[in-house]
Symmetry: C2
Subunit: 102 residues, 2 copies
């Protein structure tokens, strides 16, 4: 039971553990976007973005719907953004401590 919870938790963090996926989430903060917009903005290959989206969807972080030929993706639970913000805050302190950039 606890083991199962730890694994689910790890899966969420695993889904967040890639710069492109974090970038995608950031771009979805104002609301849903279609794949093609994400491809343009990230400057990555379309299949690459599609797969990252599939990972985020599989772990329940994103939802999606079809709209004509397009597929719109959005963040299902806005607490995901809190996770990202909290992490950024931690990094900020960490780098200030080491008197590095930021």
């Amino acid at each position: 039971m606890t083991e199962k919870l730890l694994e689910s938790q790890a899966d969420i963090f695993k889904a967040l553990a890639h710069p492109v996926r974090l970038q995608i989430l950031q771009m979805l903060k104002p609301g849903e976007r279609c794949v093609c917009e994400l491809v343009v903005d990230t400057e990555k290959e379309q299949p690459n973005i599609s797969r990252h989206l599939a990972i985020l969807k599989k772990d329940g972080i994103l939802g999606c719907r079809k709209d004509g030929t397009r597929v719109m993706y959005w963040v299902r639970d806005r607490r995901a953004f809190e996770l990202l913000d909290l992490c950024r805050e931690m990094l900020k302190s960490y780098y200030q401590e080491k008197s590095e950039f930021f």
Copy 2:
């Protein structure tokens, strides 16, 4: 710059993306512990735990100090626990939605 931030953020999430490492963090919630205690409580091999600890330390999540033959580890920034809690809350809603266990 933003790219560097995204990568640092991803590194933090990557460090959290393993059930054993999450278990270790949970065990460090009350305060510092030595490696041998973590080995006993997790029921994992000692080299395995050492390596997971090294990963958490490399990414700035854990600190450590020697105490005789022992090495004590602790969580450097308690906001790490907030990350875990927030993640668990998200999972809770998610599973309730799907009317699964929890």
